[in-house]
């Protein structure tokens, strides 16, 4: 296990250039460039606000702020996973030619999306401030929840990226699954509005705890449920180890399968 970290440390420059390349490459050749990092989530929030507030009449107070606290972390979650599904195939050319620690690829997908998310957090701040909700000391818990989400995504990314090399169907399946999961996560609605018989589904979804956490910090202005976040981190750490073991087993065949 120690070797894994040593190897990654030796290749830190590759990780760095890879993350930079992914961030820069994302909006390359587009007219507005980095502005899309802000415009994209804003437009998305607008779409959901129109549908759920104006058409479906969601009674939630400050609904746009409520929405943005859920939607922006969700985008981080879903783009990381769907890009993980493709990263090995996109980089197939290099994988077949040179050796480098393969885990660099899923890690740099999640890390570059994490950087994007951190930039988008500015939007949450802007909404919270301009809607008059304001910022409180609970903001200090933000890094903890961010780390929980980052680690969760690493674990998923290890598994998704490596399995997709062998079973290409998974790429299509993931798209549908994420759509389903979007509605099984309290993003456009709050947990309280669900009948208790359905609420247990949300309890099984790790993203529920993370989005509730962000929402407590920014929207409800209360202390998030630290205990469940810590339990989540503990579970996720185990998941990372399992995910890495699966990844490591599967990566040996990458060059032949791609």
């Amino acid at each position: 296990m120690l070797n894994v970290f040593k190897n990654l440390y030796n290749y830190r420059e590759l990780l760095k250039t890879n993350v930079k390349k992914e961030i820069r490459g994302k909006y390359k050749n587009s007219f507005l460039g980095v502005i899309w990092s802000f415009l994209n989530p804003l437009l998305q929030i607008a779409v959901y606000a129109i549908v759920f507030q104006m058409i479906l009449k969601n009674p939630q107070e400050n609904y746009v702020v409520f929405l943005c606290c859920g939607l922006i972390p969700w985008t981080f979650f879903s783009t990381s996973i769907s890009r993980s599904a493709f990263t090995m195939i996109e980089n197939g050319n290099i994988l077949k030619k040179v050796y480098f620690p393969r885990e660099i690829l899923p890690i740099s997908v999640v890390t570059s999306e994490a950087v994007n998310f951190l930039i988008s957090t500015i939007i949450i701040f802007a909404f919270v401030i301009f809607s008059g909700i304001g910022i409180t000391k609970y903001i200090l818990v933000y890094p903890l929840i961010f780390i929980a989400q980052y680690l969760l995504l690493l674990a998923i990314s290890f598994i998704v990226s490596s399995v997709c090399v062998y079973v290409r169907d998974l790429q299509h399946f993931i798209g549908i699954f994420l759509q389903l999961l979007f509605y099984a996560t309290p993003i456009v609605y709050s947990v309280e509005t669900l009948p208790p018989e359905a609420a247990w589904i949300l309890k099984l979804n790790p993203m529920t705890y993370i989005i509730e956490g962000y929402r407590d910090i920014f929207y409800n202005q209360t202390m998030p449920d630290i205990q469940s976040i810590l339990i989540l981190i503990a579970i996720v750490l185990v998941a990372i180890v399992i995910g890495y073991l699966i990844f490591n087993k599967l990566q040996k065949g990458f060059a032949e399968e791609l």
Binding site: T17, I94, K97, V98, Y99, E256
Partner: protein
Amino acid sequence: MQENQEEYSIIIDDVYKTFNVYLDKANTIKEKLLFLFSRNRKEKREVLKGINAKIKKGEVVALIGTNGSGKSTLLKLLTKIIYPNKGRIETHGKLTSLLELGAGFHPDFSGRENIYFNASIFGLTKKEIDDRLEDIIEFSELQNFIDNPVRTYSSGMYMRLAFSVAINVDADILLIDEILSVGDEHFQNKCFDKMLELKNQGKTMVFVTHSMESVRKLCNRTIWLCDGKIKMDGDTEKVVDEYIKAIS
């Protein structure tokens, strides 16, 4: 065991490699399920059948053999791009392969930026690359073009840049596949001299080549692969003579 680590750079221990050759590759679940019932579309090709070799630190070894004898597969196994089905491969020291030059080059970025990309794939840190940048550019003789995008390079220039990066990585073990076909004659001679220099520095090198002339000049030991097995392993002169006799 400790003694081995000191003495040997590469230990190849009874290595077998089989490729599944799919005549029609199944990538989706549906196809995979269907293929469960019709196995005749897959065939196994044994490429390496029990290779044993130990290469000492500082040895320069040539791998020779006809096409399809498993030379390149063996090199790929050594770089850990692919893994053996059976057996074990150990390498001690930093390893660089010059199998596919210019992997990770991005055509839209400048030569200088690509040096950074390429060298980072070889596991160098920013500082290490900074230190080598001048040497790399000088060796490639591309001073005037180094800030142009790589897509504007001729194929010779491209290879020169790629080779210059790979050769300046400062690895302990170099794996080289047919590189003496890089660039024009002047550059080839330069590469050759660089190889000799690295040899004198005590680097371990493994060559795959069809040029018996360079094998004789550069390598003290030659391994002759034939149909996935080692046919002969020993002093270059002897092995090369036998090999030439056998193929002519």
